[in-house]
Symmetry: C2
Subunit: 297 residues, 2 copies
């Protein structure tokens, strides 16, 4: 398959769906709030999470059009987490995707609210009637429950809390793995699971796709750690070297760059191995795993 | 009915359910995050929103036990909104329910995350399998969708954005009503609607309960404005006079105290009038409307 073409096409599908579902710009009283949400949502993200959901449904030979509200919700959740993580009280980052962060442009209060608004809106999309064209309501509820868990206190938000608490602390590798698993891994894994549910996966298929999701979540974060060491602010679109500056525990800090690369590669191989029960329709998932390893931003 | 006894009983029911569903305190890595959420959630709130949901279901002669996860979710959402509203970047309040606010005790970063965690956790509760003991999955999805809308960009979060933008600005009464309707009214109205859905309300009953919800939401906010003028920091448990200090538009600022009281009373009467199709099982809803008018904190 021509992966680059696939990625561009899928990215466009997601962009168009986001444009369709997201509140349009308006001149009314809410203009500023909507502008702040749209500013971060349409800042040129790679749309990895929605694309993973679409690719997982495809691996199960399922049509993906009615999955789009859910796919967009995953991107809204990811964007909200970036806006809040970048706040002065959190990581205090000025640059994201090569642009000034939301609070730099709209102020701190509106950035907090833009995040809150995107998170609430995500659940409006997750409960969207369109999903019922493809899956029974009980499955849609199961998906909402899985996503809420993945991004809540025992998932993404908890991971960010752990991450902040660990800054400048001596933590062991098990703790680093826990932080990564919660903060980054949980949303990536549940994105794959969303596609699995839309593809009406059997228990075996769901378990396999979940294993894939866990491993690419891991690979994603290891590479993120590496890019922070090896990348430049220009190609990353965010401040390079920020982890070291904040004395954050990372894979390279634990294992050095060479071994870290090996570990990322192993995670990608494990992800691809988890897909052995699937046929050629899972090729995009396999290619996405390799892409996560090879990406440079 | 003995309303005081009813209120105490219902409050206890909600407290016990919150204790049952909420993550327990733990000694592990997430200890601080969970502590921050629990600190604000168990700070002695009046539990008006969950009690409204329970009372609406009761007005429809429906059992309420399987509604409890949803009732608790409404309180989690309310608490998250208070935590974020109190942040230094927002209203910058140090006191809430007579205690130091979340960010004063746990720091700004953890307060943002405690709010985010509670909001995510609320949707875990809203999609809780227990609701399916009482209502079909499609109704549960409808409820999640209504709640997400009520608290999102066109509801509560949007209202807070409007409120911040209006500080110190000359706004007209229509705009004040819009702010109140979004910021406070939407969550109160949807709390009543949650009970209506659990009570399998007919279209006519749903419309009547929605009208009731809109009117008590209005009364609630008018009285809030009044209490800010007439109450003391001690009985309010939050800083009295904060609105005037922030040059916020309020009902008393527009109409004076006497006319404002009349308007609150009219809203309560309209709320009660909306319930005329219901029998004596709606008495708690009627009493709650009167209570909102008479409350002093």
């Amino acid at each position: 398959m021509d992966f680059k073409k696939y990625l561009n096409e899928q990215c466009l599908v997601v962009e168009q769906a986001l444009a369709r579902y997201m509140l349009p710009e308006e001149g009314g009283a809410l203009a500023n709030h909507i502008k702040a949400m749209r500013y971060s949502l349409f800042a040129g993200g790679k749309r990895i999470r929605p694309i993973l959901a679409l690719a997982a449904a495809k691996a199960l030979h399922a049509p993906t059009e009615h999955l789009l509200p859910v796919a967009c919700a995953l991107e809204c959740i990811h964007t909200y987490s970036l806006i809040h993580d970048d706040l002065p009280a959190m990581d205090d980052d000025d640059l994201r995707r090569g642009k000034p962060t939301c609070h730099v442009v709209f102020g701190e209060a509106e950035a907090i609210l833009a995040g809150d608004g995107l998170l609430s809106f995500a659940f409006e999309l997750l409960s969207h009637p369109e999903a019922r064209q493809a899956i029974p309501p009980a499955d849609q509820l199961r998906l909402i429950n899985l996503i809420a868990q993945a991004i809540g206190p025992k998932g993404m938000v908890g991971g960010q809390s752990l991450d902040l608490a660990a800054e400048g602390q001596a933590i062991d590798f098990a703790h680093l793995r826990l932080i990564h698993g919660c903060k980054t891994g949980a949303l990536i894994t549940v994105s794959v699971q969303a596609g699995a549910i839309f593809g009406q996966a059997s228990e075996e298929q769901f378990a396999a796709l979940s294993r894939y999701g866990v491993q690419i979540g891991l690979a994603f974060q290891i590479i993120d750690d590496l890019l922070d060491v090896e990348g430049t602010t220009e190609n990353l679109g965010k401040t390079a070297g920020a982890d070291a500056q904040r004395h954050k525990a990372t894979y390279p800090a634990f294992f050095g760059v060479t071994k870290t690369k090996v570990m990322a590669h192993e995670a990608v191989e494990a992800a691809i191995a988890a897909l052995e029960i699937f046929d050629a329709q899972a090729e995009p998932l396999r290619a996405l795993a390799r892409y996560i390893y090879e990406r440079n931003n």
